[in-house]
Each structure stands twice: as structure tokens, then as C-alpha cells.
Symmetry: C2
């Protein structure tokens, strides 16, 4: 029950919804998100921790970078919620704008040793 509430609480904040919207495209590191969302590093990192703690995402270190992506091993509720959520985030104007910014950003991203 507490876990269920926690799962929803993680979705109750605009920045976190935008982060999840972007992660629908695939894994991203903190600095990618900073660039696209135009928010300070501490803010991004804090929200990522929150999402990870709630069980939505997990991070993997590759060199200096931490890459975050959706977890595939969540419970039933989480899996079904993710399906509903990803479909609906795509419709939100703010998320669509973020997607465009991401596409633009990926074109010019400086080369990265690990990917």
C-alpha cells in the first residue's frame, strides 16, 4: 500500500513527468537531461533519485556518466501504469516540446566514449 502510494507520488510532479517522457525515447544521462530540460544539475539529479527510489527507473554507471532508463522488472501495477502513462505523456504539449529539443540536442551532442 505504501509502495503503491509511493509509485504515484513519484508521478505527481511536473519535472519528473517530463523526465519520464524523455526516457520513453531510451536511456539518458544527467547532463543530457540538464541540457534538454534547461534545469540545474542538482534539480535533475534529485528528481532522478526520487524516481529511482520509487522504483520507476534505474541508473547504470558507464565511465563518468550515469545512464538512467525505465526498469523492466517492476510489478504488475507498474508495468500497466507505464503503458498508460507513456501513451499519455506523448500527447502533452510540454512533453512534445521536450522531444523536439531532445532530437535537436542529439544531433549536436559531442561524441561520447561509451556509446
Amino acid at each position: 500500500m505504501k509502495e503503491t502510494a509511493k509509485l504515484f507520488k513519484a508521478l505527481s510532479e511536473e519535472v519528473r513527468l517530463r523526465v519520464l517522457g524523455l526516457l520513453c525515447h531510451g536511456e539518458l544521462c544527467v547532463c543530457d537531461l540538464m541540457e534538454v530540460l534547461d534545469l540545474p544539475q542538482s534539480t535533475i539529479s534529485r528528481h532522478l533519485s526520487y524516481l529511482a527510489n520509487a522504483g520507476w527507473i534505474s541508473g547504470e554507471r558507464r565511465g563518468v556518466w550515469m545512464y538512467y532508463r525505465f526498469r523492466e522488472d517492476g510489478g504488475d501495477l507498474q508495468q500497466e501504469m507505464l503503458a498508460v502513462l507513456s501513451r499519455h505523456l506523448a500527447v502533452l504539449p510540454a512533453v512534445a516540446r521536450d522531444h523536439e529539443r531532445l532530437a535537436q540536442y542529439l544531433k549536436t551532442r559531442r561524441p561520447c566514449a561509451c556509446c
Copy 2:
């Protein structure tokens, strides 16, 4: 976007999840919920206001009583979320216990003029 976050925020609290679990059975008034959840009236009323404000439920006055039920006219996200949610709430032990208490309570509920 703010609306989406608000919808989830309403689901981020245990008492509210329990209330929604009970409302899956059909409409209930504040005093029904007080009895079944064994919480003070101000607490129940506050959470119901919160849920109504987020768009999950609506209240209808019948005499002295306010009956609350799920809204049927929510957006796509809300409808799909409700389907997922109701299925999963039923599985939670705390919600199952509440259902039993509700069944017990309904047997002895004193007659009500309006229903």
C-alpha cells in the same frame, strides 16, 4: 501537464487510496467512510475534497448526506488509470480488509431516508 500531475498526486496518499478502493463498490457518504476507515470526520472530508478537486470523484447532496462516487466524465488518462487502479487496489491487503469492514457495516447501517 499540471492536471496530469494533480491526478497522480491525489493517488499518492494511503487514506485516499483506501477511500477509492471503497468507492469501487459504489457511492458512499462521509459518515459511511468514517465508520469503515475509523478516521475522524475532518480527515475524511478533507481527503474527499482533495479527490474531488483533482477530478477523481464528485459529490451529490441528498438531504443531509453527501454521496461521493467516481466521475465517469474524466479524460482518457483518467479512465484508463481507473481501470488499472481498481484492479490493483482490490489486490492490496489493506483494501481487502476495508471491503470486509464495509460489508459488515452495511448489514447494520441504520435505515437511510434517501436510498
